[in-house]
Symmetry: C2
Subunit: 375 residues, 2 copies
């Protein structure tokens, strides 16, 4: 009899809100409005995405002394009630009118909102409303994010599953890829396979860049045919149970030439050096430097212009950033990508990306896929 | 010999920038920072999407007296140079540092930025920088949008092509749909077909909702099998040459029952009444009311909670809104969706959506597809 596979991990949303409330109290904040979709989902389980920042599918209103609620509109009522155990309040005349009602009850003196996911234009209207009710506004930027920065073992498990499924999709496509497919066809096949495999969708627009196009780190797939003996960069990730994966592989459809192999090996060496530097207490810029030095020493320093990596969780890009400018330190439970690259205009580019968890004694690489890694 | 088909329509970006400059001059604005991706594309042709509002892929800096430029970072250099004829300036230490350089040159007294696509947090930093340089900040909300509101014949042609391709994809999938497919499989097949057909991608996450799920106007596809004799709502759109399409069809896989046919006919009647009201001079709320009245008179008034329609162009949701609250008037060249719906919790929902251009003498429906419309 096969071992029973635990398929769902249900986060304790109540505990997360309580933890947040404790921090609000310390900051003497009476209520917080959560607008950022990942924060909303982290605290409530509500999954609806926003259609852009100016079309919210809902906000969490978290007073310190009363019950938290999800504010949304008619269109999302059923979904909201299904996905969260919080009470759902519908706004019919917009969020501001509803906030005006809350403000009018007189329990709020200091009201916080997410400055990094609130439009300047909405901020102006909120300021006018707060002034009317003599409420002090407190723009916050990393209150919920800081809570999300250190992942629980449950979250790490979800990221592991997301990564495993992402690798399965990659390997499926890799084994079926032929030189006469276009970049767009390949990207479409990947995203289609993701959904068929049970992912909520891609965690970002899949990058498939062949030949010279590989020199664009954020290449958008084109109608270019990949072509025989051509190098291909595939940067892909999916969302599973809300958690994102993010992985980049480079390989040649056919036979690699010497330049390709040479550069690929440098990038892989840089990646391994970066991963080796991931441990509690390391500064972000130290980790970046460990990888960057390998590339610079090989003479390709000017062809690696972006940061070494970024955090991944409910968002595909989140804190911390393995940036050459950051002196913050890694802590156990943080998750980062390690993704050095060399991009040579007119030739192409190679980037390799894995997901790494900081552990008490160093780190753990969440990836198992080794396709073409150690050529 | 077949007629030559004109496949590309190249907008005159220079003329668009000049038109914008004239408006900036009238408002005594010395320079405008354009952050919204659709506005950026409208004025420059630069296509890169943003990975969320906090990860811009570039901004347009448009001084009144000097040449406009595209500001971006290393990752987008090649794409930017390829897609726009504007000079490209890279920022290495972030946008604000570069703006500080521009401000330091002393030519700018009044500096405008897009308040509705600028984060509150960025606004705070920008305000500090402006204060340092004694520059007055002017938040604007619809400067470029107002220019985009009235579509040129070229733009209408691009929207027509986007709609035609979207219908082709819909018909392809519709003819192959079977009752044992899940909502997710259907949505994946649609988006995959879009890309194979040459679309840049879907213009929003494709909605496939069957049975009861149809009661959620913004349903996210699930693993539910569609099922025999089940109603299906498909709301889909794609991006072609930057321009979005958006269409909703409802049909039954199998045999429709009487309730379904009854409600479908009411929605279609409401849609036709809405379309008949689309003409120059009509107030937005009048058009909404024309359709809403049909639904209310049939006793389903409380099951139609959203606005009748929205503008479509480089963005899938843009001005104007056919809202029951808006008294603005339609003008020739505006494009709106007309999409009434009836959503009954526990039963399901029906929405029908077409794209309509306001013409001097009334309107023109861009859709040709009639699948299941007049049952």
């Amino acid at each position: 009899m096969p071992a029973r596979i635990k398929t769902t991990v249900r986060p304790d949303y109540g505990a997360r809100i309580e933890q947040l409330r404790a921090r609000l109290k310390r900051k003497k904040i009476d209520a917080l409005l959560v607008s950022k979709p990942e924060n909303r989902r982290y605290l409530s389980g509500y999954r609806a995405p926003d259609h852009g920042i100016n079309e919210t599918s809902g906000l969490l209103f978290i007073p310190v002394r009363e019950r938290a609620r999800l504010l949304t509109d008619f269109r999302y009522k059923l979904q909201a009630e299904e996905e969260t155990s919080l009470p759902v309040t519908l706004y019919q005349k917009g969020v501001l009118a509803l906030l005006g009602d809350f403000f009018g009850q007189g329990n709020i003196r200091r009201f916080a909102f997410e400055s990094h996911y609130t439009l300047h234009s909405f901020g102006l209207k909120l300021a006018a409303l707060a002034e009317k009710h003599k409420i002090e506004l407190v723009p916050v930027t990393d209150l919920v994010e800081r809570q999300r920065l250190i992942k629980s073992e449950e979250e790490i498990e979800l990221l592991r599953r997301s990564t495993a499924l992402n690798e399965k999709v990659f390997q499926y496509i890799h084994s079926r890829l032929s030189a006469d497919m276009t970049e767009i066809e390949t990207a479409a096949a990947i995203e289609s396979r993701m959904r068929q495999s049970g992912a909520e969708g891609p965690s970002f627009s899949t990058i498939v860049a062949s030949g010279e196009n590989g020199a664009l780190p954020h290449a958008v797939p084109t109608n270019k045919v990949i072509g025989k003996n051509s190098a291909v960069t595939i940067d892909m990730g999916l969302v599973l149970n809300g958690y994102c994966s993010d992985m980049t592989r480079n390989f040649v459809v056919g036979t690699a030439d010497k330049t390709y192999t040479h550069i690929h090996r440098i990038v892989r060496k840089a990646q391994l050096a970066g991963i080796a530097a991931v441990k509690p207490g390391s500064q972000m810029n130290e980790v970046d430097r460990a990888a960057r030095k390998i590339i610079a020493d090989s003479g390709y320093g000017k062809y690696f212009g972006h940061a070494l990596g970024h955090g991944v969780g409910l968002a595909v890009h989140e804190a911390p950033s393995l940036s050459f400018r950051s002196r913050r330190k890694l802590k156990p439970g943080m998750i980062v990508t390690v993704e050095p690259g060399i991009y040579v205009p007119g030739w192409g580019g190679i980037r390799l990306e894995n997901l790494v968890v900081v552990r008490e004694d160093g780190c753990e690489v969440l990836n198992n896929d080794t396709t073409y890694l150690d050529i």
